[in-house]
Amino acid sequence: MAYLELDRVAKQFGAQTVVDDFSLSVGKGEFISFLGPSGCGKTTTLQMIAGFLDPTRGAIRLEGKDLIAVHPAKRGLGIVFQSYALFPHMTAAENVAFGLEMRNVPRAERAERVRAALAMVGLAGYEDRHPRRMSGGQQQRVALARALVIKPSVLLLDEPLSNLDAKLREEMQIELRQIQRTIGTTTILVTHDQNEAMSLSDRIVVMSQGKIEQIGTPQETYERPASAFVSQFLGKTNDFAGTIDRAVTPSQLVAGSWSAPAPAGLNGAVTISIRPERIGFGDAGLSAKIVTRIFQGNHWLFQCDSECGPAIVIRQNDGTAQPAEGEAVRLTWRPEDMSVRARAGA
């Protein structure tokens, strides 16, 4: 059964619809990411779950109970804000203790839980520091400890890592995932970094302009993108125009001089989406010419000019000889590696 459930939630600001028809059920202990470009409504959705904004339409339920009717202070959710929103006049320990104080946790137990929470995020010994005397990464950890110490039913994270530099961000990602695994809190992370979403989440909700484009595991969304938007947003991809020919038997999917048995369910003009690392060089297939060849350490990046337009190919640097610039090649791939969808406007 769904633990947290959003049922056709929508939010309008005046005439502008910012989130529309947002339905999602989150299982207990699951790690979900909202992924999408800036302004697509991720924060708005998160704030509706938190209760800082009221949905215009739709329902939000936690363990089957209506959450919208519950005051934000009574929802018991843990939230980490993009700016951390720590209380600057309190020490790290006082910040973490605040939520426990509000719950009237006895002093001794409070001290113990604060100590444990700070230790969990690797900040033992920083109890008496004020936030302004801490680094970005440390502040971020205090914010996380403050949200987790109240044992929230759901942890909401709004781009908590976006203010950190690349190396620290990676460290914190690993740590975040470990902490989440250990204590098993249901977590929703907002991010516009696809790598972050992929490496952390059980499932990703890809959003665009207030609508859900796809919900799926990182692998599903990467390898079976439901729309052109998803395939473009989650890393580099090749889109080739193809056609399905049902006149021949067995029916064929054709793109230039590449062809394969046609998948069921589609007809006529289609778009073939294929990740650059899934394309190989072979004897038959799409004919192309290599325009540039870039060496990137563990892999080669080829930009090709093919029958069906520009194509990108990534090959592992496994020691075998690679085609040179200007060389004519044939591009080929396994049918199970591509995703095929009807071509709009054709």
């Binding site: 938190a50 800082f52 934000p72 202070a73 009574k74 939230i79 700016s83 929103a85 209380f87 605040f98």
Partner: protein, 291 residues
């Protein structure tokens, strides 16, 4: 770098600040020093000012209880004015800050607008409303029979505090407003998500963070009120004197310049001590919020 260039580099800051420094010395330090000197001179009804060095004026101020009472009144009025502006101004700034765009700019204008009107005009307004039997409000209330005699306002400390608070309010609101701008916009949501109710949020989260703003506003209001002249002169006249109006009277009516200078010097020294002292206290107490 050559030695010559280095020398020039060391002299440049002095050369660049010289004009401002000269102005500072010329219009502030020299007159100030002369006032202090003046306070040690002698004065007589018939002989006028005698440039000698005596402690007569200072002795008079120290021994005559009239002066003690007057200084005490001055600071009592300043403290009450400061309290009144803080109690009204801080919530005012907070409410203002929570308003949405258009209303915010409108009410900010309403609050700051009075700064454009002369203090004299604003204080005379109070006099017109509450001045004796002819004051507009008094007339109205008496005609309704709500009060039998005019509300005592003119020549009272209450009246002076009210009028001063009105004049000083923008400074307090602006100062608290500046502190509010430094708050994280999500800070209230953060506290709310941890289970804090509205009263707790204001008391535990907002108040401690805007306190430095309230206190620096209080320093401004206190020092301006303690040295205010126009408002006490109009409301208190010559019946209810404060330090500034007394010094004025000594200079222009009694013509006892040395005594006036002593009063002015004492007011200045007391103010400087209070302001510097409380500022140091505030900075120490709120080091974490100021950083």
């Amino acid at each position: 770098m050559s030695a010559v260039a280095e020398e020039r580099g060391a002299r440049a800051p002095w050369a660049l600040t010289a004009p401002a420094l000269m102005l500072f010395v010329g219009v502030l330090l020299i007159p100030l020093a002369m006032t202090v000197m003046l306070s040690f001179h002698d004065w007589g009804q018939y002989k006028g000012i005698e440039p000698v060095f005596i402690l007569k004026n200072w002795k008079e101020i120290a021994t005559d209880p009239y002066y003690a009472e007057m200084f005490w009144r001055t600071f009592r009025i300043a403290i009450l004015t400061t309290l009144l502006t803080a109690v009204l101004g801080a919530p005012e700034a907070y409410i203002l800050n929570r308003m949405s765009g258009r209303w915010k700019s409108f009410f900010l204008l309403v609050i700051l607008g009075p700064l454009l009107i002369s203090v004299v005009a604003r204080t005379l307004g109070w006099a017109l409303l509450f001045g004796g039997n002819n004051g507009l409000v008094n007339k109205l209330l008496m005609s309704f029979g709500a009060i039998r005699s005019p509300i005592p306002f003119m020549f009272t400390e209450t009246g002076m505090v009210v009028a001063l608070a009105h004049v000083m309010m923008p400074f307090m609101v602006l100062s608290v407003w500046a502190a509010l701008q430094r708050l994280d916009p999500q800070i209230e949501n953060a506290a709310m998500s941890l289970g804090a109710g509205p009263v707790t949020i204001i008391r535990r989260i907002i108040m401690p963070q805007i306190m430095p703003g309230v206190l620096s506003g209080a320093i401004i209001v206190f020092s301006l009120s303690a040295s205010a002249f126009a408002t006490p002169a109009i409301i208190g006249g010559r019946r209810l004197k404060v330090a500034a109006t007394l010094a004025y009277d000594e200079f222009l009516n009694t013509l006892n310049w040395p005594l006036g200078a002593a009063v002015a010097t004492l007011l200045l020294v007391a103010l400087v001590l209070i302001v510097v002292g409380s500022n140091a206290l505030i900075e120490r107490r709120y080091a974490e919020v100021f950083r």
